[in-house]
Symmetry: C2
Subunit: 331 residues, 2 copies
């Protein structure tokens, strides 16, 4: 398929072509990568208007059910919703949480929704890059809310937080600290915390937790000067509170826009993207270098066991890269 | 001076030679860097036994006074204390907070203490590397507590947290959230929080804040499975509470040792050090590449203004590195 066809198909909101384009982004084939890059550049002017929403929370807080209910809620209001994920572990576990579309039955059947599981394999940097680029395609295809899910148990939160406008942390009562806090700093990345499953007998407990958490958050830093992360309760099962969450996201967005922060945020996101591509590229070149590849395992072992200083190992490994250039100079 | 003289001097605890060796570490001259590396490797077997203590807190919480009092307290118990700093801003501000030794009058006069300001200039990665290497020299020179201070307003906390065994956050009452929280995630890196200036009329307020903060921290994750960061009060002015802080650090250390976590921590620190050296080296090679250097400013501007996709800019820039190798292949 020609670049032109991809572009037109996506701009027309053609889901099949969108899916194919995402496959192109996820391909490791150099020709595909080149084409994908050209496509992203062609579509860039048609991106940036969607609400970019990150959602995290440990397994068990009901992320899938929440995204299903919240997504349907938005669709009923006339919005189109894309759901993506960053889950670098999806290779090992045999598919991200979103891989199992049956967990979002209504949403995956809705023509106004588009669900794409996490790209599998590769480093977090690579997976995050693909999701970020997929987000742009979805925006160009006319989705006005892009939800990026993260599994809440690894390093992926920071990567998602850097690509979204609003980062929502889901929690539940009674799960205990060890289950919920998990990653350092997640709570401080959040623009809001929603305590899910606040229904039936659990509602008073959820409200109590809400108050406690709100006091706790007041002792911590607001994400930006004029935003202190609120704590809400909701129930994905009954739909209670979903409206409040959406209202909150919109208020946040209006504040960003009014203060000129939105533009700054988009710029920062683009620069962050560029530098993570560069970092990823440099690391990739490094570990693929034949000599580095040969010696890295024994070097790592020697440093770990205290036999070699980290300085020595690092310099030895970096020196292997220079040899290419050195040889050339010598010629 | 010969490598052998440096090594012997440091192992004998000679302060003048220690200072000279640190200057060697901070030098950008390739010969010096090579020599510094050889020295670190020679001293490596004599390191790893000191208590590595990170201290952070925003300006105004009394870090200098705290370090002075705490350091003197340790010296009175027969310990030798080195005080270092990671402050990447020290170039701009004309010297780190530790540069002004008059702020630690007693400590800087004590023969059992060694105070070295933050290396100035360079990236955070570079400054952190030098401090980490200086820490090793100090350990080899017989200092059994190495305090690494960070200014509490930048990215440097994570770098310091990665090189120490215990990370202490200093706070004070009444400074307001905006002044104290500042960096995202600091609270969650801390192994303990000490509310300083808990003396005189301020003591009840400090105790109230201590209780609130302790509840807040219980809602967050413990740093490791068997450690929940306690909140204490102290007064650097009266010396109250300093003993409790030291007891806490020792308890933490014993727990780490008993569970075999100490060894794991040292290994992680060494590997982290190696990878940050590699990352730093790769980035350095990248930005120093003549072609990258020439084009980076305009590329960055184009990405920031949305004229160029981040993917395109990153690939263009990375491609410049490959050209060297490509040319060689072509020969």
């Amino acid at each position: 398929m020609e670049l032109k066809d991809y572009k037109e198909g996506i701009l027309q909101g053609n889901r099949l072509i969108l899916s194919k384009a995402i496959t192109l982004i996820e391909s490791r084939h150099p020709d595909h990568r080149e084409k994908a890059q050209a496509l992203i550049e062609a579509l860039l002017p048609h991106t940036g208007e969607a609400v970019r929403l990150g959602i995290t929370g440990v397994p068990g807080v009901g992320k899938s059910t929440f995204i299903e209910s919240f997504g349907m809620h938005l669709i009923e209001q006339g919005r189109r919703v894309a759901v993506l994920a960053v889950d670098p572990s999806s290779q090992r576990s045999g598919g991200s949480i979103l891989g199992d579309k049956t967990r979002m039955e209504r949403l995956s059947a809705a023509p106004e929704a588009f669900i794409r599981p996490s790209p599998s394999g590769g480093t977090l940097g690579g997976v995050a890059r693909m999701t970020r680029e997929t987000m742009l395609l979805c925006e160009a295809a006319g989705f006005d809310v892009v939800i990026v899910e993260t599994v809440g148990v690894g390093q992926s939160e920071a990567a998602v937080a850097a690509m979204v406008d609003f980062f929502l942390l889901l929690m539940i009562t009674g799960a205990g600290d060890a289950l919920q806090g998990i990653k350092k700093g997640i709570l401080e990345m959040a623009h809001a915390v929603a305590i899910n499953k606040a229904d039936g007998e659990n509602a008073p407990r959820a409200e109590k937790m809400r108050q406690e958490l709100e006091s706790a958050l007041q002792l911590m830093l607001p994400t930006s000067a004029d935003w202190t992360p609120p704590v809400l309760t909701c129930s994905a099962a009954t739909g209670n509170g979903l409206d409040d969450i959406w209202a909150l996201i919109r208020t946040h967005r209006e504040k960003l826009r009014a203060g000129g922060e939105m533009e700054r945020l988009r710029r920062d996101q683009a620069l962050h993207w560029m530098w993570s591509l560069i970092d990823e590229g440099l690391k990739e070149r490094f570990v693929r270098h034949p000599e580095v590849r040969r010696q890295l395992p024994q070097m790592t072992a020697a440093v770990r066991e205290g036999r070699t200083a980290a300085t020595h190992a690092a310099r030895q490994l970096l020196f292997m890269l220079d040899k290419d250039r050195g040889d050339k100079k010598g010629m």
